[in-house]
Subunit: 382 residues, 2 copies
Amino acid sequence: MSFKYRLYTPGPTSVPPETLAVLSQPVHHHRTAEFRKTFGEVHELLKYVFKTQENVYTITGSGTAAFEAGFVSTLSPGAKVLNVTNGKFAERWASYCKAFGCELVDHKLEYGTHVQPDVLKSELAKTKVDAVVLVHSETSTTTVCDLKAIAKAVRDTSPDTLLIVDGITSIGAMPFHMDEWGVDVAITGSQKSLMLPPGLGYVALSKRAQAAMNGKKTLPSHYLDLRQYAKTIDKGDTPFTPANTLVEAQLVSLKMLKAEGIENVWARTALCAKAFRAAAKAVGLGLFSKQPSDSVSGVTYPAGVDDKAFRDHLKKAFNIHVAAGQGSMEGSQFRINHMGYTDWFDVIAVVSAIELTLAKLGHKSFEPGTGVAAAQKVFAAA
Amino acid sequence: MSFKYRLYTPGPTSVPPETLAVLSQPVHHHRTAEFRKTFGEVHELLKYVFKTQENVYTITGSGTAAFEAGFVSTLSPGAKVLNVTNGKFAERWASYCKAFGCELVDHKLEYGTHVQPDVLKSELAKTKVDAVVLVHSETSTTTVCDLKAIAKAVRDTSPDTLLIVDGITSIGAMPFHMDEWGVDVAITGSQKSLMLPPGLGYVALSKRAQAAMNGKKTLPSHYLDLRQYAKTIDKGDTPFTPANTLVEAQLVSLKMLKAEGIENVWARTALCAKAFRAAAKAVGLGLFSKQPSDSVSGVTYPAGVDDKAFRDHLKKAFNIHVAAGQGSMEGSQFRINHMGYTDWFDVIAVVSAIELTLAKLGHKSFEPGTGVAAAQKVFAAA
């Protein structure tokens, strides 16, 4: 029996066939009126998703490239940066201080936890920093923070400190109000909630961040220097050749998000996460995070279930790809995506396959159907 | 009457339908045995195209990102760099010295010319530099240099100087022997000869360049720090999420290049360029460059033919997209691609459309068919 291919990794995520179809069309040049129109439409829709009136710059590169663009374009050599370090991606951002000669204030936390707004507020009251860097939804530990309260804490204690937010698995998946909350640098990538293959990164700057970019000597870069992007964006251009077929495909996915309504997308993602968590609990699985994100769930195994055997069976028997734990978390958990092109029945399907796989591997402490019924109850109540 | 869409810009260039078809397939994750196998095959084929035994790193980004990766990973703060500045792309590379605090020795030349090996040799005998940066085939001026002789001049005068070559419109289009000639940093992009949409850049380092990268403090970067790519390439991984669907599609195009044989690809490109130049001359068009490249032809107009009217007519009447002149060259020339997915009949077709357009715009000093016949003679003799 042949099972359909199903991708549940938290990036790349599934891409709608309508979007994929665009990628098989003949390639066009990017310095044309047609492309400028497409690029302009994508830009407006990105602003809608970021909830900002400011420009959202398109970088050909990964989410890391977009983060680097935000970091080097707004900070100066020797800048003092408080980094909330609570996962693999947060650790990557901490390493930027060393790479670019900034001073790191390492706010190190246990994996699966996140910074509390009042704790951050008292730290900022004691230690003046040029920027706070944090990950809104840390994909490696599947942990979210209360970004609204954190942004308020930053704004209340320090009017000049830049709040740099990795929103790679939050923007487009959960409430994110860049302007209203006062986020200064907001970053995401194309292959998460925005329903595109990897290859594009997006970064937006608040007025405060723009002033920082334009008012001082910033960290060295050329490809990722956002001043170059700021010069061309109003003309519908990028300073360097963009991955233009991905931009054209991005328009299709963004139009789908707009048609659904971004608030509805957030609610759908949250409901899928809630249903999945209910199912996981019902079949004796644990959650790794103490503040679980709605964009991705990190699930710990019951005693006796081997990670590799579990993921291998899902893949070989059912053609289902879930993500392993990352770094030191590999072996003790698996992760399931709820972002982007995901609906209720994708949740039901993966819960069903997880139930069958657990039973196959000897974990039979639940009646078949317990997981899918638990998920179903959540959807039925919605 | 409806004409088929034909793209003749020197990047993006046309992509084979077999390759485009891959881009419409469901998206997979990139940390899998299957992707590692594909990535490894792409890597071997890139080495074949670059004519190198060294690693060729895949950067998700444009050719500029790949250039920046080579530049920042091998040079140190304060490095003295001789830049051959003879076109828009060479000017971009010259600006890197200022952006990264290097000392620029600006070897400025008239557009349409290129550096002569003996001139460079005597300059290097007088001025010791850490690196020579040049564009093998400058797309803006459609001008090529004798890279083999230039590389010898660099090697003969200075054993330690790095030769950094923008091969964006040369690698895969014309003879390029990285190892044999002694090129230290070789760069290209996916959207030129390698028959892919934009989105990937490639950069290879000689043993000398690798020693420079590993032996000293280099310029700051993280996303474009090739040490990170060197650490993961043998495992079939990239340090950051790659544009994996483009990598999968790249394999198809590279296999086509391998099946044809890279030397045959070079010969085909040269023949197409030769036939096009013969046709251009036959209908009274001039060539902008004094050392024309075989990858792209820059054509000057006869008196009385307006650039915008000419390109508009090609586009609106015949659905053919040629490139304008770049920067200060806009208005006085148009450019035609010969790289990548291009065969004899693509040349015949564009010459035919050019003839018809010139006549339509009042330039009738040639008999209809003069251009296509001139091109045909070149192909017939091959």
